[in-house]
């Protein structure tokens, strides 16, 4: 797996995509910092961008990368290499390079500007962790979607629908169901609803850490009340990581039953 990871990593890191991702976050983070001239306010804005864009870019890159490397994968399949190693090597090579671009892009401006305190540093790290988890989760989900759909248009469509659902439609449905069932105790229901959406999970995670209760929303408030801040952070982090592990594990067994 290491050898394949190495090839796909260096292939990716030299490519336009990771440079684009790096520059995007470099420019966004620096302009936020210099415009607001306040690192904690810049962080709050950055959070919103990270929570929506990391999943979107992860989705797009995951499908594109899979379809672009189909030829390479077919070549590898004829070599004495385990299937699992081929697919996981490809995935992790992609994921590491994208996550590194993201981290580098977002960190450099803060290093130049200064964090302005230990609190902000921890908050900043939380956003980095949340963004990395979201990137890796959505890369894995869309990689899987592309693997299952040999038709590119179908694969792209499906992956974008999944993102759209998790990032936008889900919240709407959730609020609507809260409204409809307002007479019932909904705490368990909303806990479950948060846990099954990685974007909600990461948003809750960051908000608990940043302690922005105004932005916490209903689910975050429930989370806070139910677990308390520190336990809430640990639990949301745990479930967010499951959103990376689950799809990656699915890739590793689904690839064994595929014809090429």
């Amino acid at each position: 797996m290491k050898r394949i990871l190495k090839y796909s990593f260096f292939d990716m890191i030299r490519s336009r995509w990771s440079i684009f991702y790096f520059l995007f976050f470099l420019i966004t983070a620096s302009s936020l910092l210099y415009m607001s001239n306040d690192s904690s306010r810049a962080l709050a804005s950055l959070m919103n961008i990270v929570i929506i864009l990391c999943p979107l870019i992860g989705t797009l890159f995951g499908v594109m990368y899979y379809y672009n490397s189909r030829d390479f994968i077919e070549l590898l399949l004829a070599q004495p290499i385990k299937r699992r190693d081929i697919f996981l090597g490809e995935y992790f090579g992609l994921a590491f390079s994208i996550v590194i671009s993201f981290i580098a892009g977002i960190t450099i401006p803060f290093i130049f500007y200064g964090f302005g305190g230990a609190d902000t540093l921890v908050n900043f790290l939380t956003i980095v962790v949340a963004g990395s988890i979201l990137t890796m989760a959505f890369l894995a989900i869309s990689f899987l979607v592309a693997m299952k759909n040999s038709n590119k248009i179908k694969g792209f469509g499906l992956a974008i629908i999944i993102w759209l659902f998790m990032a936008i439609i889900y919240d709407g449905l959730f609020l609507m169901s809260l409204f409809i069932f307002e007479d019932y105790p909904l705490e368990t229901f909303s806990l479950a609803m948060t846990v099954i959406n990685p974007i909600d999970l990461c948003r809750t995670l960051v908000m608990l850490q940043l302690d922005i209760s105004a932005l916490l929303g209903y689910t975050g408030a429930v989370f806070n009340k139910f677990f308390g801040t520190s336990q809430g952070i640990i639990i949301s982090l745990f479930f967010a990581l499951l959103w990376v592990a689950g799809p990656v594990w699915t890739i590793s067994w689904q690839c064994k039953a595929k014809d090429f």
């Binding site: 050898r3 490397s69 189909r70 004495p80 290499i81």
Partner: protein, 255 residues
């Protein structure tokens, strides 16, 4: 030795191989023939593990190989459609495959045979179809594998490359390797094949050498014999469809 035991394979319920059993024991050239879509590529991919049979077993060198991977150290494969990561250079590709296989291949001799020296620093995406095929051939032969699977090896090759390929296959045969190839060019079959395997409708219609084939069909030469086999099949189909048509008419009358 390569052996297939009762292989079944369907793609999304469409059966392609319906109980194929095959044994290739001796070194030599085995030509897999059959009309387009008869499952020749599928058969090769089953040996290679790129396609998983629904039923049946595959043995390479006496070992059952389904869902295994290390046996591919002993296989060289030439795919029907040459596909490469386009952003690599030719020499980088050779190096990368050696590295990934963990085997030190010998590509120099093959590069010379196919006249690829001046293309070594070309990007793969900028090669012509025939040149890609030559690159493909180098990858297939560079590890001196015991089993060589060639899916339409002659496609796109010019006469010079064709002669080089024939010579190469001849040498591998002398070394006792098992070479399985598919082709639609009967001239290649007549000149090279020790054994012919004729695949149609998901089954093996014929396995044996050219003399046996001629005897069976009463024709001379592979081309004529295969044509005979195909015609017989066609006629059989027509007969049965006519019968159906007849029955249909009868039904109508009865109605």
């Amino acid at each position: 030795m390569i052996e297939l035991k009762n292989i079944y394979k369907a793609y999304k319920k469409v059966p392609v191989l319906k109980g194929v059993s095959l044994k290739m024991e001796k070194g030599g050239v085995y030509a897999v023939l059959g009309p387009n879509g008869s499952g020749k590529t599928t058969l090769m991919k089953c040996i290679l593990g790129m396609v998983l049979p629904d039923r049946g077993e595959v043995f390479v060198g006496g070992e059952s190989v389904i869902k295994k991977h290390s046996y591919r150290e002993n296989i060289g494969y030439l795919p029907q459609i040459a596909r490469f990561p386009d952003n690599l250079k030719v020499e980088e590709l050779f190096k990368m495959i050696s590295d990934l296989r963990g085997q030190k291949g010998n590509s120099e001799d093959l590069i010379q045979r196919f006249g690829l020296e001046k293309y070594l620093s070309y990007k793969l995406s900028s090669l012509s179809g025939g040149t890609r095929q030559k690159v493909n051939l180098v990858i297939c032969f560079m590890f001196d594998a015991q089993y060589i699977l060639l899916d339409e090896p002659t496609s796109g090759l010019d006469p010079v490359a064709m002669i080089a390929l024939r010579k190469l296959i001849e040498e591998k045969k002398q070394e006792g390797k098992i070479i399985i190839l598919t082709t639609h060019i009967m001239d290649v079959v007549e000149k090279m094949a020790d054994e012919i395997i004729f695949l149609m409708e998901g089954k093996i219609y014929f396995q044996g050498d050219q003399e046996k084939l001629d005897e069976l069909t009463g024709s001379e030469g592979v081309e004529a014999s295969i044509a005979q086999l195909l015609l017989k099949e066609e006629k059989g189909k027509n007969d049965s469809s006519q019968k159906n048509g007849f029955r249909f008419k009868l039904n109508k009358v009865a109605l």
